[in-house]
Symmetry: D2
Subunit: 362 residues, 4 copies
């Protein structure tokens, strides 16, 4: 269990990092939506390794294949199956995994839970697992575009290690402008600084973490369910299900906990026909339901666990060993996490949009 | 939709804050567990309003009734229904709600989503909704106690506004010792400071927020599913579904994003028969699966939206008005959020424990 | 698990037959629907025991209470909780249940599965458990009436024991006309015959079974999902989940298996703007999806297991005993099964209607 | 929606009959089970077309590929993906489908529901869709074999058209002995008669239906949940979700509705340590829960809709036309339905077995 997401637009991802392929089946894609596989490929290209010297040198073309559910560029209403074959196996890189519990990896917990040791060590715990999510989200985005043409979802790197790029204002950010930066930070000066931090860590075989900010713009009012399936709760789950995520904030987030109520409340005002708020510390969600303002999230990612430095650990037969990782891995997950975060936000929004169709008599 | 939680130990909460009653139905409680309703009542007493001058003066005895599923103190395996009648309605307090969108409340979003205006204004968006969760968790805790007698789940207030109580070490904390403090902070000095911050805000009709830390101790290795239902992802959803929560961190959390990988990795060591880690920046979860170390969470809550100060807002017919709240409300949600956080953690752990029973051939 | 039904209009029933109360929580009722509790009461009155000498003499007023989700006769969109208190306990009737496995009852299986012996013997296995279903269906019907005003769902007794009332044509049947008959068969002559069969069995302390036919008229084209959630599959599950049901047929049913394909196919014709079929052996469903013709089901019910005749059995300590039932029970479940079958059909249709809202781009 | 089955052993089937491939993803297979793909292939060989002159001459090798979830013959606990490529497309056979609503097929309902016309006409409504189910069941059977080595599930053809093979006793039936018959009826004389009925119909381009009986032997006591998820209810849904099924009976079935209660009750007796029943009209299930006796089901299938005879119908532009099917299709679905019925029974039993693990304190 655990490889499924969504109540109506329901996806199941599959595939081991070093097996035959990784992919996804989508059950519940509305029929009649026009679907371009080129668009799916473009998302995967934003996610794939080897895009720059800041990411792992593992080379995977990550070419998408569609096995079912789409005919002549239109969704049939039946399950859509998308597949990416794994190509760049370097078996020798992973042989060591058969013998060691890598620190802060899933090797020990996977073995303990399942009683088996997959050749990739940590089983499904791999950034490669997110290919299925991103592919599904690239379909979801096309569905949303046909139902909610104004909706925009974009994320950017807002911190690398302890360097933060703060932006009160992001009305002119876009996915295209963000992607101009190797590190996916929309500010050129900050990008440079972030890149140098990553390069410095990489040069020593070390790794760094950081933070992303994600904005969901022009979501309709009314998405999210009170009680357990609040919109921010489902977004939190979605983001905390990404590999390496450690923190989640919505709206004012942690900083908001340090304000008085009189400072934190968002006052309602009329703006033509719309009800809006002067400030947006709520982050676009009130009582678990979207209010039409920007939905703003911040997600923190830890430094990548795989480092090219010697570390003490235990072998699988529980002897103390010294261990140095040999695989090719990202020194910083943040740039590639941008499309993953956008993907999860897209899946949450579409599912809640479809759930909301029957929420009232119309 | 949205009032259900859990895959196997599945609960459905119900009830409007100012209606007849609030409660919960539990489907999936293992038969044969001994269940004490006094224990449920004790949890509700920790949650209920009117416990001290730091919380709302709304007086609700919150007396639990059991309508089904338990006979002679034993769970039958059939749905358990628990009910608390609402008593302290002050209708006049809520009449104003029929006319105004309270700032940072769910009044506007509820009306927009459902097209109806419940007399409580924000419908299910109320701290009172959590009674069902806490009652269900008090059952879940008894089930867990019979399956995993070593397990402990406890939370405490670790920050009020910008005052933080930091504790590297909490091996001697317990629910009993925490409850000795009015503000549910286990440190006497810090408690005093927190109380004075809350009193000061209350005296001006204002409110404050803060942070909780929650520790899940002695959870078995192997809880949590890779990919979407990672243990921290389900915990994040559970916590972010609580009213007023704004941030979620696991293990090193936000601070961990500022470290190098070489500083952040938890090294494995042998401790008798057990595999343990020297540090615990992972917060007891690796690859989404518990590793046997303390599971440590931090949750931030915003300052309560209801303040006894005049605020500008819109009436439901969209005219600008000045509005001062008349209801009785907490100046700080943190002390009462402690049992809510413990409740959600308990529900997540039991559900994952039951899910895990079939995860491998035994 | 197992007390929940529906994906979107999701109900959870609860309550032991001889406990405090029985009832249901509905999560997912569309907000804004007008709901009359009198209508719910009227359904329960059709289901309740003691309606005539053909049913059990257990007297239960079955008075409905609504605890949440409805205000001023309108659904709020939050969970609707409906409750009926149990009143006519005759504890002595059930004391014997503590000691015996009643033949063809759930006493033995319940004890084996759960390891506990509820005072009602078979736990949730009781016709009384259906109160929650019927109450939920009476809400569902009102929702459907506001969304699909033409839809009609009605059932009648089409066989008692080996006496069959065959009706090729039932365009003039209605719930009102069917209810004119004590035995709920719309044909006066057949009713008499059925009643005499039941009376004869009852006079000897014996019981009889029979068959119901159910018609769902004016369902929209397009309900039902291909593959697992075919409309007839969900209807089959719904009907076979009713106590005492033994068989399910759709359309031509068992008789249809004896025809040639050339006899069985329903030929399409044009009828004004509509596509219709000349015959309806498909029973209104093709490929799992409704085609707009009458959906016709037949459900068989076994003779009631409780008979007032001595039977051999085993005591719970596994000694051979002779046993004669003392409780008051129906000699034939069929008349009271009519509203239960209508209830299940109503729940299936509404849930599929709501599921279908997102099935295509509109 | 609708392509998923199971709560814990959860499968999602995918693939259009005439697209790239058909297959299944299984989420929730217990780790550590030994899995042989040869066994999966053997099941598919029993299901595939072209086995004899009684079935369609469409030749599909139906070669299974495993893309994920199994390594070195052992289930990893991650999703298992199984794929069969489609090969024997005869596009010209299906071109006509673009233009006509075939009688009693899903062409009209599919178009009406989804607003699109897949090249296979009826979309997922195809016997080929069952490949995914059968492949998943072949995995499930291996899991069950390692958990419940005594369990047996086998089905046979018990009627073709109006010819019935009645068998009070089937203690010596087995899958192997049944498969000796071309028509999968374990009685040689009856087989001959059935074959001649099918041949006669085929020679005229017509088709016939019939009935299957399925026996689940040595299921443990306690499978099935009271109320909605009764074991017979889930079996009914499973069977009625198969293409062309029209009726479902459990135990005494329709015949049982014609008996008195005094004839129908199964009396309990002691058999060594076991509690058993003298008769088994209950069909191995009481109160929705298995009692350890043989679970006996009968499923009726209509005559195949595709016949090689001219029929009147409507074109998709709603003109009256005469239509004669050109594709290659089975004159009788029964022989190939045997493994499909066994597959669905296997999926239901495993899922309920896994659900039952947490049903009580152990």
């Amino acid at each position: 269990m655990g490889s499924q997401y969504g109540k109506i637009f329901r996806i199941t991802t599959f595939g081991e990092s070093h097996g035959h392929s990784v992919g996804v089946v989508i059950d519940g894609c509305p029929a009649g939506c026009r679907i371009s596989l080129e668009h799916v490929q473009a998302w995967l290209d934003r996610r794939r390794p080897g895009q720059s010297h800041l990411t792992t040198s593992r080379q995977e073309p990550d070419q998408i294949d569609c096995l079912s559910g789409i005919e002549d560029g239109v969704a049939l209403g039946s399950p859509i199956t998308l597949l990416v074959k794994n190509q760049d196996h370097k078996k020798q890189d992973y042989e060591a995994l058969a013998k060691v519990y890598r620190p802060s990896h899933a090797d020990y917990t996977t073995e303990s839970k399942y009683g088996v040791v997959p050749s990739s060590g940590g089983g499904r715990a791999s950034a490669r697992e997110t290919i299925g999510r991103v592919a599904a989200a690239a379909i979801a985005e096309q569905v949303l575009h046909q139902m909610l043409p104004e909706l925009q979802i974009f994320a950017w790197v807002s911190a690398v290690k302890d360097f933060e790029f703060k932006s009160e204002e992001f009305s002119d950010f876009s996915r295209a402008s963000i992607d101009l930066s190797l590190v996916r930070c929309p500010d050129a000066e900050s990008s440079k600084k972030m890149i140098s931090i990553i390069e410095e860590a990489k040069s020593r075989g070390d790794s760094v973490g950081g933070q992303l900010t994600c904005c969901i713009r022009n979501a309709p009012v009314g998405l999210g369910e009170p009680v357990f399936d609040k919109l921010e709760a489902d977004l939190a789950k979605a983001m905390m299900s990404l590999p390496a995520s450690k923190s989640f904030e919505v709206g004012s987030g942690l900083a908001g906990t340090r304000l008085f109520g009189s400072e934190h409340n968002d006052l309602f005002v009329r703006d033509g026909d719309r009800v809006r708020t002067i400030t947006n510390l709520s982050g676009g969600i009130q009582g678990g339901i979207s209010n039409g303002e920007d939905i703003v999230l911040r997600i923190g990612f830890k430094p990548v666990s795989t480092i090219q430095m010697p570390q003490q650990s235990l072998s699988r037969d529980r002897e103390t060993i010294e261990f140095t990782a040999q695989g090719r891995h990202d020194p910083c997950v943040l740039p590639r996490a941008v499309p993953m975060v956008e993907a999860m936000a897209t899946l949450v929004i579409l599912d809640h949009y479809l759930r909301n169709l029957g929420s009232r008599l119309r």
